[in-house]
Symmetry: C2
Subunit: 306 residues, 2 copies
């Protein structure tokens, strides 16, 4: 099986109460790819500038990520994001965004990327998401992330993109904003009426909830005493989620739940250190061990009277 | 087994986007008692004015709540709270609070209330909580709720009260505020260093988390498409939690987890209608049925490689 992801491949400058980095590897497609690499063959699609060097490629290739569709634009600059987090690590304050080579990005997928069994459209302009979606017609499963900016400035285009995927994975506030419905269960149903058969509501430290036709499932965030940098947590979640689903024979409700567990676990490792530092040296054994811990934290016995 | 709870017994005026009530039965001890009444014998302790009549007593007695320690003050007025909720039902906006007979309240517990196996100190001034605590020396299990007001105005007294109970049950923001620690896992540990052996962090629609020496457990809120009035959700949670624990032979980790489940279920019924309307006509069968549904929403299979 194989997985294609389109999204930002970037340099991040991040400051949190626990430290800072001036220029580190980041971007949604990077965090997603590293997380998904523990489960399947991953191909990130996206442009970088010639400031993107061997050191950055090595982080991806070190995890077996296939970088053939990372397009290196001579004379261009890679996407750059600068943000800071204060006391409340759930809220990122963006200080600078430089699109660089992303401003002129026209996705052209290689035959191998086009043939992917699973496709994830990370948070980019929805028309670009649709261009990529139309090139991956063989995908068994497709997912999409977005953000408040596109809900505000490109809502029709975003709704058309959402209609073309199986799973919407966004923050719960964005589900409310997109649908104009304050009740999350109703908002998720409104999204499913647009096309997707599942909605994942990311809830920061509170975890994540899954809505499908057949029901509801939710997991808390994995409790950590040391969270150093939340950047990329949502993308790592999506990487664990879709990575696991790409690897299974059949996408059942049980596997969707397991995927929620793997997403939660990958997000939790991601935030323990800055950028990609922790996930880059993670092992599958550590993942499954924490998965089992998470499971132990959420199981309980039936009602007294049963 | 038996349970004593001290706290407000009140009239509430509430407005939400889904309706309003000008004067309905409310108060922490009322919501708690009704929820706990499905599990054990409950005695609320607190004063009411002579505006508190047969209709209000009947709601409590209809659920078997023992009202001997509800002190009727002639010529007094019952505690009154007026609040409204807007688009975000997680946030209550208080418009008026009239202490009434609560201003002069001096808790004097009957021998039956003093002999309770379980004691819950709902959110009142911490010195009052300590007075009640000192009268219930036989309790096998004790719990306490509080609020930002007491953290700001009576922190030392509140800390002394917390040191004297087994379980602190407050909102997660209050745990952070009380300890000055932004990380919830660290904040919960700081509370346990004050004395309690368990901390329950209430998280509104996101559910609740349990911290003990032996670990962590969390449950999502029960997903509802119709939430009409969140008033009393936290007290109903506590009522289900301590009600169940009062009813068990031994307070094990498994029973604490089940208690989290019953708390979640009682809170979910409470918010479906205004005030006590839904819980007053609830049945134990409905509770256990929803408990089983909640369990089905949180279970998942082990790691792929195990």
């Amino acid at each position: 099986m194989s997985l294609t992801v389109v999204g930002s491949i970037a340099f991040d400058a991040v400051k949190t109460p626990f430290g800072e980095r001036e220029r580190m590897l980041g971007g949604a497609a990077v965090h997603f790819s590293l997380a998904a690499s523990f489960f399947t063959e991953v191909r990130p699609v996206g442009p970088v500038g010639d400031d993107f060097g061997a050191e950055q490629f090595e982080v991806l290739e070190g995890r077996g990520v296939i970088v053939d569709d990372v397009e290196r634009v001579e004379g261009g600059k890679s996407f750059f994001w600068r943000g800071r987090y204060e006391y409340d690590l759930n809220v990122a304050h963006t200080e600078d965004t430089q699109l660089g080579v992303f401003a002129e990005f026209e996705p052209k997928l290689s035959p191998a990327s086009q043939a992917a069994d699973t496709l994830f459209l990370a948070n980019i302009q929805p028309d670009l998401q649709r261009q990529v979606r139309s090139q991956c017609t063989a995908a068994r499963l497709s997912g999409l992330d977005s953000m408040n900016l596109w809900i505000e400035t490109a809502k029709d285009s975003l709704k058309a993109a959402i209609a073309e995927v199986d799973v919407l994975v966004v923050n719960d506030a964005e589900i409310r904003m997109l649908t104009g419905e304050s009740n999350l269960a109703r908002a998720a149903r409104a999204v499913m009426d647009m096309g997707p058969r599942a909605v994942v509501a990311k809830q920061g430290e509170y975890g994540a909830a899954l809505f499908t036709d057949s029901g509801f499932f939710a997991l808390p965030g994995f409790p950590l005493e040391d969270v150093r940098d939340p950047t990329g947590a949502g993308d790592s979640f999506a990487g664990g989620f879709f990575g696991h689903l790409d690897s299974v024979t059949e996408i059942t409700d049980d596997e969707l739940r397991r995927a929620m567990g793997y997403g939660t676990v990958l997000a939790s490792f991601n935030v323990e250190e800055f950028g990609t530092e922790r996930v880059a040296r993670l092992t599958r054994e550590e993942i499954d061990s924490r998965f089992e811990q998470l499971r132990a934290m959420t199981q309980f016995e039936g009602p007294v009277t049963s």
